[in-house]
Amino acid sequence: MGEILGSLMDGFAVAATPMNILWVTIGGVLGTIVGMLPGLGPATGVAVLLPMTFSMGPTAALITMCGIYYGAMFGGSRSSILINTPGDGAALAATFDGYPMAQNGRAEAALAMSAVASLIGGVIAAVLMTFIAAPVSKFALKFGPSEYFLLMVMALSMTASMSKRNMLAGFISMFLGLSIATVGLDAMAGVDRFTFGMMELQQGIDFLIVIIGIYALGEVFKSFQSMNEGTKKVQKKFGKIWFTKNDWNRCLVPILRSTPLGFIIGALPGAGGTMASLMAYNNEKQLSKNPEDFGKGEIIGLAAPEAANNAASVGALIPMLTLGIPGSGTTAVMMGALLMLGLQPGPMLFVQHPDVAWGLIASMFIGNIVLAIVNIPLAGALVRVLAIPPKVLYPIVLGLAFIGTYAIGNSVTDFYLLVIFGLIGLVMSKVNIPTAPMILGVIVGNTMEQSFRQAITISDGSLGIFVKSPLAITLIIVTIISILYPLIKEKLTKKQLKTI
């Protein structure tokens, strides 16, 4: 216990310098703005802003990235509340009661409560994280190549099978992502794979390009349709951004209930802010004495998912930091950022670079506080961004997407890839094939294959290594359960429906 607090204090020493706090604030403000923009949202927003941090030192870059990450989380719900357009999946639940509140003239209370609920959720989750991170990473050291491979199979399957009833589409998406990951020079054997003789493809397709292509361009393409259909009005003048004491009394317990829920769901690979916020919403609705008010502007319906979603975004950092497995698109981007700084996320991070790992955790506390401060008084000013008409905003989003891409790879070949992935993202959304499994597949594909080949090399060609350790067997069982459970549940529900 003392050791953990000591490490945390060291982390604060790293993160809490005036310069770093300034960076977190700048990152936070930019992240909030970018997270607000429909078409960008948190994952893409972080991807587009990341190149900015390249010229800073590693610690400052990491801290700024955290600021951007949290800012984007906070910002995603602004557009949900004001224009009924969530910045990303995790902000979807905020539209259910946030937008009706705005329509009832309570936009100020909605914005304030969303910020405070996010703050509480984030801080409590950061506390939980502090105590769990180190022990989990010690446990993670027990993972050998075969366990790692199985862990990634499990994470991907969980993501694919959580795609509601469309598991086949989820797995197709996952396999597509994995095949994208195979493009490039195979490091272990020195063979060019799927590069068609192009030198630019030898380094493979950067997952950030895939994310920006699918989310930024894909979203803009999708929005072209609604843009041609007409524009939405945005409230521009705001009163004092705060809520009543009554609001606070009613929301406190739901927030405290939703936070651990969000944290645990966020820590599961494959589940993230979206699932956490929806579950918290449904939970509170069922526990409420007035469930029929939900959906009409009930403030609890906004506070609960917001707390859960911030707690989940902190929770998602656990598998990322301790195991090197990103739990969501946004954490994947963070992981990419760490890799670019030369830091390998995973159990060794706590051993080799404890200052970075603990500095990151400390910056979570700082980031959440700074952003709550930024979001409440400045909400009125920041939200002006949403008033920019879409017909001007979307070309700007496209411009940012392309320039961010260039800053990442310095290659115009990536521009062609952006266009291709933008079209793929558009088609995938039209036919309801989920994009999350594909993105995760692109990210973990290479590590997964390498772990497999390493394991086979160690076992001299025998597949028995995958059922050797108890850990490996547990992973296999969990994977099988995660695939079968939704299928069985669906069959049981159908049976129940027939008997009614």
């Binding site: 190149p51 900015m52 390249f54 010229s55 086949l168 589409a169 797995f171 197709i172 396999f175 597509l176 994995l178 095949s179 195979t182 195979d186 272990m188 054997a189 020195g190 063979v191 060019d192 794979r193 799927f194 803009v220 393409f221 072209f224 349709q225 843009m227 041609n228 259909e229 017909k391 001007v392 979307y394 070309p395 700007i396 496209l398 411009g399 940012l400 392309f402 320039i403 260039y406 800053a407 115009v412 070949t413 521009f415 062609y416 952006l418 266009v419 933008g422 079209l423 558009l426 088609v427 039209k430 036919v431 309801n432 094939i433 294959e449 497999f452 080949r453």
Partner: protein, 163 residues
């Protein structure tokens, strides 16, 4: 055949091509010669099989839907918006490709101005030319200054003026 069934076919075709490419990949000089091909082969065969299943499932759903409701006619207004949207998407993609081709030759500012300008004109029309040009120019110049001077990330410079 609707978009979903077509996607099923697309996935299957992709799976087949990918598998063939994986099979005909050059063999490795170090270690097991076919090691680099195993993972892709599994993926390719998996995608082909799943694509076929997906196509069969969506085809069945489509046929049942057509039986129940008949082939839906889209009303002219929605069709017009769809056509306009598709044109816009096509134009954006073309501009993106053009952007890629000219980016390093014309420099960041000029090519970005063209890129954003073309899309703005396509969205807002010729009568808003002042808005279109100003957004395109301001964006290009502002981003250029932020990246080059504030963040020290080099961007391609234009030929004559060398900015």
């Amino acid at each position: 055949m609707n978009t979903k069934t077509k996607s099923g076919i697309a996935v299957t075709v992709f799976g087949v091509i990918y598998t063939i490419l994986a099979y005909t990949m050059p063999k490795a000089a170090i270690g097991n010669p076919i090691a680099p091909t195993i993972f892709p082969l599994v993926l390719g065969i998996g995608l082909t099989i799943m694509g076929i299943f997906y196509f069969i499932r969506e085809n069945k759903t489509w046929k049942e839907q057509v039986k129940k409701e008949g082939i839906k006619k889209i009303d002219p207004a929605t069709l017009a918006i769809q056509k306009k949207t598709n044109k816009l998407i096509f134009l954006t993609c073309l501009s993106g490709i053009g952007y890629a081709i000219f980016f390093e030759h014309l420099g960041y500012i000029i090519s970005t101005t063209f890129f954003i300008g073309i899309i703005m004109f396509a969205i807002n029309g010729k009568k808003n030319w002042k808005l279109n040009l100003s957004v395109a120019l301001i964006f290009s110049v502002v981003v250029y200054f932020i990246f080059s001077y504030l963040l020290s990330i080099p961007l391609p410079i234009m030929p004559i003026l060398e900015i």
